[in-house]
């Protein structure tokens, strides 16, 4: 026999097999539910009882009462009065709070039958008489119906909460999409800017190369003029803010043809290296390629016996090969789009700009679940995470 049975004062001759169904049911707490308004007799008192109470309460006069500064009690009194009125209009409002049930409660509280006598009585009942079990089954059935009702109400509440969470999740997803779209737009605009710079450099290089043919004023006499009038060389130098380069390129006018040929040779040599740089090859390898190109170009230049003032170094190419590199980049055509070196999807500086902290926290929570692919998180997983975090788990 267990200690629990000893505590209940069950007789020693009552074995577990002969234990009455009622006692066995009591030992099992599986039927117990949390006390709530679903179980509570959730109605005001009867009118007569309330009136009697009001008369009694009127005879007491406490001193030093508190005040209803915020008016909450006044509002509650108005709401309670409305509920009471509605309740009194219902015909069966107090069916469980008075009458037979109240008498039965008073009776059983006054004189409860000892459990031992019930166990003894039931243990002596004939085994083929199933009346007791039938009565218990009826009670169990009714109780289970009540439990089902409570559970249904809980499920409804949980479904309501889940719907809210799903809505929040959807909003977070939409925000995520919007952010991704903006990020992509930023990346595209950056690419476009790069392409624009490249095309400008191309155009500048073309201007430099075509200037002797098109301008016709690129003679040596124009060298000393810092303004250079409206010639292409002057314009190019002014637009880049590099007068030294303008001067140097203007000096190329008289020896344009051999230089162009040389540049073409350079372009043929350097084009693969430039393409490789554009594709993200490490700079060391690119420098090596360009160094080889310089060597080749040097040989070519030595073969021409031309004394050419080297072009001024641009700010973007401070090393010794910068001038040739600029020429190569201006002449070579990169067939594939330029991509930035670094992570493919860099994090934006301000991700949740203008969304507010609450929205950012939603996104953060969604990302915390799937940091690699935040868009693929399932709604169920996210809600479960929210439940665990907020202590809403069942």
């Amino acid at each position: 026999m267990s200690d629990a049975e000893n505590d209940r004062g069950q007789e020693p001759d009552a074995t577990e097999n002969n234990e009455p169904a009622s006692v066995a049911a009591r030992n099992d707490n599986g039927d117990a539910i949390e006390y709530s308004s679903a179980v509570h007799i959730n109605s005001p008192l009867d009118r007569s009882l309330r009136n009697n109470t009001a008369e009694l309460a009127a005879t007491f006069d406490p001193e030093g009462v508190a005040s209803d500064n915020n008016g909450k009690i006044k509002d509650a009194l108005a709401a309670a009065a409305q509920i009471t009125d509605e309740n009194e209009r219902l015909p069966h409002k107090t069916q469980f709070s008075s009458g037979d049930h109240a008498k039965r409660i008073a009776q059983i509280r006054k004189k409860r039958v000892p459990k031992t006598s019930i166990a003894k009585e039931l243990s002596r009942m004939p085994p083929n008489k199933s009346d007791a079990e039938t009565g218990l089954e009826v009670g169990k059935h009714t109780w289970r119906g009540l439990i089902a009702g409570v559970m249904s109400a809980r499920k409804d509440a949980e479904a309501h909460r889940d719907a809210k969470l799903a809505e929040e999740l959807e909003e977070a997803r939409q925000a995520q999409k919007e952010l991704d779209r903006r990020e992509k737009e930023d990346a595209d605009s950056q690419d476009k800017a790069k392409q624009t710079v490249t095309s400008k450099a191309d155009a500048r290089a073309k201007d430099d190369g075509a200037e002797p043919d098109a301008g016709g004023n690129g003679g040596p006499g124009d060298d000393g003029g810092p303004g250079g009038g409206t010639s292409g060389n002057a314009k190019s130098g002014a637009s880049t803010g590099d007068p030294a380069k303008a001067s140097a390129t203007s000096g190329l006018g008289s020896i344009a043809t051999p230089i162009i040929d040389t540049a073409k040779e350079v372009a043929k040599t350097v084009a693969p290296a430039a393409t490789a740089i554009a594709m993200g090859v490490p700079p060391e390898a690119a420098v090596k390629s360009i160094s080889d190109a310089v060597k080749t170009t040097g040989k070519i230049l030595q073969g021409t016996d031309l004394q050419v003032t080297p072009p001024a170094k641009s700010l973007a190419s401070p090393n010794q090969t910068g001038a040739l590199f600029d020429q190569a980049r201006s002449l070579a055509r990169v067939s594939e789009p330029v991509r930035s070196i670094g992570p493919e999807n860099p994090a934006p500086r301000v991700r949740a700009q203008g969304m507010g902290l609450g929205f950012a926290s939603l996104i953060k929570a969604a990302r915390a679940l799937a940091p690699k692919e935040p868009g693929d998180i399932s709604a169920a997983a996210w809600m479960q995470k929210r439940r665990d975090t907020d202590g809403l788990s069942r």
Partner: protein
Amino acid sequence: MIKSHEMPAWFLQEIDDDAPNMIGATTVVFERAERFFFDGVVACFLKQGKIPHSLEIVLDGDEMSCLARLNYGDGSDEAAFYISFEIESFALLWNADPASVHGIDGDNITLFYKHGAARYPFVCSAGINCELYYEGDRFLAQPDLEFAHELFMEEAA
């Protein structure tokens, strides 16, 4: 709403049932749309403008007796009023832990529960005889099948 398992000093003292500040009527609590209301003495006091500064409700788990104290004035024992309180309503408030009851802020309501093994018989809203008991910081309701069986036997006889 403040919860405690330490009994207040006033509850440990002898309380005279015939004292002038002892009110022999009960108070219950009911709920509508997640709002909780008193009915009975406390509701009448509130309606009459006798708003207490705070409420202390004590449930003795051994004796299954419930008593509420309404604190007025300086909070002394003489200025307070004592009323009986429905045990089921105490369990309802303990489990629900509402932010306010009948407009009284939850911070001004303290629930005291003294541990005990007693089971309290009551009739639930479905008309089933049940037992109320305390387990794991919650009040649970379980159908009193023993009592049901007893009634069944009486009716059968």
